[in-house]
């Protein structure tokens, strides 16, 4: 990791609800100023982990450090964190100003200082005209901005976001996403962001932690996660439409599935190419080569198209490759129709190989 100082450290974190182990042996180091996204489907423990960092859930075992200080037994308000929730969680009976200053009043901050900080947060988030209004009179986007402001006024090092954009409509979500990224560039705080939306994760994150069943499946930059998934779960989870998987055999650096033979000489094997045996190959729909470039691909094949989904910018083609269904992403102008035969090419360097048993990357 190239981030010099650590902001949040999690050591051997365990959280059990009775017999159920929600989080097990979890270790995570988050650098100062880093934007870390916890990504996973619902029930994977990502929000639970965030609540543990915030101190809203009592952990069963392990330690949590924030800025080098052990905060494992500290109250949420003493941890130097600010949190933004999915449902905004604004206090409905208070004005926006009251919402922003509530935490500062509890911390007995001087009145002038409260005024200064509220004004600054309002300026950063452009909510000055709303200060005297109550949350009920705000739109969803404005409410979420106030909720971010509530974390901002606390002058903390670590921001925790619990699916902050999930309640907004698609357009607003895209706008606020950009604003959040800009805010991070401006403030340079550490941000931990929980989401199940992979677009949010890919666009916002410095690093993404993909979680499943209370464990981190892979921790890496968006590029690593997308191009070099460590296991089949991550490969399948990231990318929309999802990756094509073909079952086959790997022998002497050649992958074969039925009639398809793929020389994997150029593939960056993790162990130098010593793997043999039952293997799954994963190829992203957008990495299947079509059109004029097919001739230059390592391997060429012909597929029978059986369904075409035009999506405007792209066209998603479902085709039959020697009995296996594969998805191919072509550009929006493509004139392919169902029933056509289509020439495709596969580049072995952009594919991913997984051991069939362990489902780990080879």
């Amino acid at each position: 990791m190239n981030v010099p100082k650590l902001s949040v450290q999690i050591r051997d974190l365990e959280l059990h609800f009775g017999e159920v182990k929600v989080l097990q042996g979890l270790n995570l180091d988050i650098g100062e100023g880093e934007f870390l996204v916890l990504l996973g489907s619902s029930g994977c423990g990502k929000s639970t982990l965030l609540n543990c960092i915030a101190g809203l859930l009592d952990i069963t075992d392990g330690q949590i450090f924030i800025k080098g200080e052990n905060v494992t037994w500290k109250e949420p308000s003493e941890r130097g964190i600010g949190m933004v929730f999915q449902s905004y969680a604004l206090y409905p009976q208070m004005t926006v100003e009251g919402n922003l200053s509530f935490g500062l009043k509890n911390a007995r901050v001087a009145r002038d200082e409260i005024k200064r900080r509220v004004a600054r947060a309002a300026a950063v988030l452009q909510i000055e005209p709303l200060l005297k209004r109550k949350p009920g009179a705000l739109s969803g986007g404005q409410r979420q901005r106030v909720a971010i402001g509530r974390a901002l006024v606390r002058d903390v090092d670590v921001f925790l976001f619990d699916e902050p954009l999930s309640n907004l409509d698609a357009k607003l979500r895209a706008d606020l996403r950009v604003e959040l990224k800009r805010l991070h560039q401006q403030l340079k705080n550490t941000m931990i962001y929980v989401t199940h939306d992979q677009v949010e994760a890919m666009t916002l994150a410095d690093r993404i932690a993909i979680m499943k069943g209370g464990k981190i499946m892979q921790l890496g930059t968006p590029d690593e996660i997308y191009n070099r998934p460590q296991n089949r779960y991550v490969a399948d989870f990231i990318g929309s439409p999802s990756m094509n998987f073909l079952e086959g055999n790997l022998e002497n650096s050649e992958f074969s599935a039925g009639a398809l033979k793929l020389p994997m000489k150029d593939y960056p094997f993790l162990n130098g190419g010593a793997s043999n045996g039952e293997t799954t190959i994963g190829i992203r729909p957008e990495h299947v080569i079509t059109g004029e470039l097919v001739g230059r691909a390592t391997v060429q094949a012909s597929v029978r198209v059986n369904l075409v989904e035009p999506m405007g910018s792209d066209t998603l083609v479902h085709a039959d490759l020697g009995g296996d269904q594969i998805k191919i992403r072509m550009d929006g102008h493509s004139k392919v129709r169902s029933g056509d035969d289509l020439a495709i090419g596969i580049d072995s360097r952009r594919a991913s190989l997984f051991d069939k048993k362990t489902e780990m990357r080879l």
């Binding site: 609540n51 915030a54 809203l56 109250e75 949420p76 308000s77 003493e78 964190i81 600010g82 949190m83 929730f85 999915q86 449902s87 905004y88 969680a89 604004l90 206090y91 409905p92 009976q93 509530f102 935490g103 509890n106 911390a107 109550k134 949350p135 009920g136 409410r143 509530r150 606390r154 619990d162």
Partner: protein, 306 residues
């Protein structure tokens, strides 16, 4: 539907019905519906009518026997007598004494039980502690135990702490007996509030009381109104606890009403009895009318969620 002139490029499809469908007010369905409602309300209002007209008649008129006829000569004497002159035992100062006692029982009982139950409910909903579920279960079981089994033990208890026969003894009993159902009420209400609001307040550094007073209380007017209606009507209408745990000087209004209406000496003064009954039921009635509005407003205010 007044415009019947053919359209310039008129076809059959364009001259048909257009706009809002006309409503027939006197449809068979409406007649049936409102007829039934009217009939039922007359049926329910009839006893009240009989009580009001009887309380405004003099005794000679009542003896003529037609209970539905309106009073020939309206007199308020029965009301005055019921309020300030009717005798129960040796006291002849009417229901006014019972009214005073009932108010002195009602106000502290309602305030105390709602205060404690709301804090209980808040703690059980938001601050789960070890054994809180067991505690809650025990409390709920309390709501299902018949009162009769506890009557005598409470007599002993009140005697031991020296509150037997006093207004405060009855206040204590009402507070304790209100606890299960009120705690359940408040717990469920606070549980239904968004959990993230509570979490946000904790991150903002508010403690147990800070969250209760500054976040939860302002949002829970509706449930307080509901609890108040429950407690006021329940405690005001209580007869059993009143007759057992107080003495004649501290009898609540209901017990005194019973003593007036059920006295076997002399002539039965129906007009006084009716007036006394109406007087006694006035407080719950007023509460329903006043808080009904508050209730609706409270719900509307609570609808604005964060």
């Amino acid at each position: 539907m007044t415009d019947t002139s053919p359209l310039s490029a008129g076809t059959a499809a364009m001259t048909g019905p257009r706009g809002a469908k006309p409503k027939t007010r006197l449809s068979r369905r409406n007649i049936f519906l409102y007829g039934t409602l009217l009939l039922i309300s007359v049926y329910y209002l009839l006893p009240l009518y009989v009580m009001v007209v009887t309380s405004l008649k003099g005794m000679p008129e009542i003896r003529m026997g037609n209970i539905f006829s309106p009073p020939v000569e309206v007199t308020f004497q029965p009301w005055v007598k019921a309020w300030s002159e009717a005798c129960t035992g040796i006291n002849c100062d009417g229901l006014s004494r019972g009214f005073g006692n009932s108010v002195r029982i009602l106000i502290p009982s309602v305030a105390l039980s709602i205060t404690i139950a709301s804090i209980n409910g808040y703690a059980l909903a938001n601050w789960r502690f070890k054994g809180s579920e067991v505690f809650f279960t025990i409390l709920i079981i309390g709501a299902f135990i018949p009162y009769q089994t506890m009557l005598y033990p409470i007599v002993i208890l009140l005697r031991e702490i020296g509150l037997m026969g006093s207004v405060w003894g009855l206040v204590l009993v009402h507070t304790v007996f209100g606890m299960p159902i009120l705690t359940l009420l408040f717990r469920n209400y606070f549980t239904s509030m968004p959990e993230e609001l509570f979490k946000a307040a904790r991150v903002d550094g508010a403690g147990f009381w800070g969250i209760y007073f500054r976040i939860m209380l302002p949002m829970s007017l509706p449930i307080f109104v509901v609890a108040m209606i429950l407690q006021v009507t329940g405690i005001w209408n209580d007869f059993l606890f009143g007759v057992i745990y107080t003495k004649p000087a501290t009898y609540p209004m209901t017990v005194q009403l019973n003593n007036i209406v059920n006295s076997v000496q002399g002539v039965k003064e129906y007009n006084v009895n009716m007036a006394a009954t109406l007087l006694t039921s006035l407080v719950p009635l007023v509460i329903y009318f006043v808080s009904g509005k508050l209730f609706v407003r409270g719900i509307a205010a609570g609808a604005v969620k964060g």
